[in-house]
Amino acid sequence: MTTLQESAPSKPLRQPVFGIGTIAVVAGLIAAFAVPVLADDYWLSSIIIPMVIMGLAGIGLNLLMGYTGLVSIGSAAFMSIGAFSTYNLLLRAPFLPLPVVLILAGLIAAIAGVIFGLPALRIKGFYLSASTLGAQFFFEWLFTNFSWFSNDSQSLTISAPRLQILDYDLQSATGRYYLVIATTALLIALAFAIVKSRVGREWMAIRDMDVAASVIGIRVAHRKLLSFGISSFFLGIAGALWAFGYLGTADAHAFNLDKSFQILFIVIIGGVATIFGNFLGAAFIVLTPILLDRLSLVIDLSFLGDQGALANLQHIIFGTIIIVLLIKEPDGLSSLIKRGVAALRPQARSSG
């Protein structure tokens, strides 16, 4: 068939029980759990963990932006709610096990998401996007200004009192990796279940044409708020993981506007309305600065001036890539890769 068909987001509804998809999922899970054997602490702690968590945050925004068509530039606020909720639940309700705490933190973020999603019922486009900045600044202020949220710590930072599941300590890089990858795997499954369900279809209908969606009887307002809630649920859990699975400690400024922009870029780069694409976007966001920084160790770049010039060059390259992607590849890296794979396998294409 044509390439258009290959980029179709839907698959036939009935699938064989042990199809290629199932095998891929099992293989992916095995690979994911084998990673700590192959990667050292540096790779785990400073590349793989942040990449996975940012990918998860990307899924959170993508559910809202890619599937429902509502663009938020305040995503980091909901991450901070998840992080601060997790901290306070662990601290003040020590009897709760970590998985329960993470879910509760996600739900608290979801409630905040629904409240700050209310303007979506009246406004659209970047009026809405700009108003999501309200959440961004409000929560950054809230968590900085009321030290109760950080248990009156002098530096207003939060750090996880304990990170364990059933007495298994998760403080080491490997432990944190397993926490992150297991949570993310479950949430990926959840994300797929949602987007393949009736709710997911209704979101996409609202995204493509909200008047028509309303006319055929979709509860548009309800679905938009649900999308804000679910998106924030994902972001909240991603925020908790970012604070405790990656940074170790965090303050409200770890979830500033730059972080919100990064998540937005992950969605643009990875591709809207994809799930795995977010991890491509996250890889890009996490790796590009490190690569450019390392490039200066390998190649003599002194002709560019000093190290500062190189750092500014990173900004320029980064911005340029965003623009070029928007122009050349509006569906993001995931569609680029799909086409790349298709081009490399002409036989598969003609037989499929």
Binding site: P119, I123, G125, L133, G134, A309, I316, T320, I323, I327
Partner: protein, 293 residues
């Protein structure tokens, strides 16, 4: 009570400063339907170029002209490299492209002109004068006059010149304007150039206050709630929104701040703006669109 008025007045003056930034956004939005996030970066770039030139010994007026020309060149480049390839794409894509653009412009600004903090002295005395029992800054008065002049100039340009009329035609109905022979790329280049010069003026006023440095680009964030309240497409709206944001923010800081042990001005304007949107979704002066199906 005089304290209340003093706060109110200083808030209103701060509001004028916000409006000055917001006008640049409105111009571009009106002509190309783009919410230009890179306006802050353009502000930084223009102010940096200006001080770099004056520090090299160039006289004020000449530096202003040269910087304006640089901004025109940048506008032409943006139209050619970013806007044209993205024509007919949805407004959010364009918005995100301007986010990327802001990285590029900030990067170039600092790559070319360094990261130092520069002092900028426009020769405006910044002392307090007493007017009717209230202390008012002379600098604020002059900055407001500059803003007024700018708005008046733009209003005349829009209403009296051929170019301005074409621009309003584009703003009203892009397709119809094209069909009567108005060339969109030309309009865009001109509007982005004008927005660049507005950015220069705003950058100079802000820069002379806080020094010309990276954080100039952050004033964008102050202009956003102004735009939400005033409407993205209305210059009078930008002025009114600016005054409203400036005044309420200052008063909230004095009267609400102490209740929540801190300053509220980082978010107050946004919450105000969101509340405002719920009542008037198109802003103070914006047009409400009728959805056609």
């Amino acid at each position: 009570m005089s304290y209340f008025f003093e706060t109110l007045v200083s808030g209103l003056f701060a509001g004028v400063m916000y409006s000055l930034v917001a006008i640049g956004f409105v111009l571009i939005y009106k002509a190309s339907g783009v919410f230009n996030f890179a306006q802050g970066a353009m502000l930084l770039f223009s102010a940096l170029t200006f001080v770099t030139l004056t520090e090299k010994g160039m006289p004020f007026a000449l530096a202003f002209i040269v910087t304006s020309l640089v901004m025109v060149v940048i506008a032409i480049l943006i139209e050619w490299l970013v806007l044209r390839p993205l024509r007919n794409r949805d407004p959010l894509t364009l918005f995100m492209a301007t986010l990327g653009l802001s990285y590029v412009i900030e990067g170039f600004a600092q790559l070319l002109m360094g990261m130092d903090v520069h002092m900028l002295d426009l020769g405006i005395p910044d002392v307090a004068v007493q007017v009717g029992g209230i202390y008012v800054s002379q600098f604020d008065i002059i900055a407001s006059l500059i803003a007024l002049t700018l708005v008046a100039t733009l209003a005349i340009a829009f209403n009296k010149t051929r170019m301005g009329i074409s621009l309003r035609a584009v703003a009203a109905d892009t397709l119809a304007a094209q069909s009567i022979g108005i060339r969109l790329p030309v309009i865009w280049r001109i509007v982005w150039s004008v927005a660049g010069i507005v950015a220069l003026v705003a950058g100079l006023v802000w820069g002379s206050r806080q020094g010309v440095q990276y954080s100039l680009s952050l004033v964008t964030l102050k202009a956003l709630p102004v735009l939400i309240i005033g409407g993205f497409s209305s210059i009078p709206g930008a002025i009114a929104g600016g005054l409203l944001v400036g005044a309420t923010e200052a008063l909230a800081d004095i009267y609400v701040g102490p209740l929540v042990n801190g300053s509220v001005s980082t978010w107050f304007a946004y919450i105000l703006a969101v509340g405002f949107l719920l009542i008037r979704p198109a802003g103070l002066f914006g047009d409400r669109e009728i959805e056609r199906v």
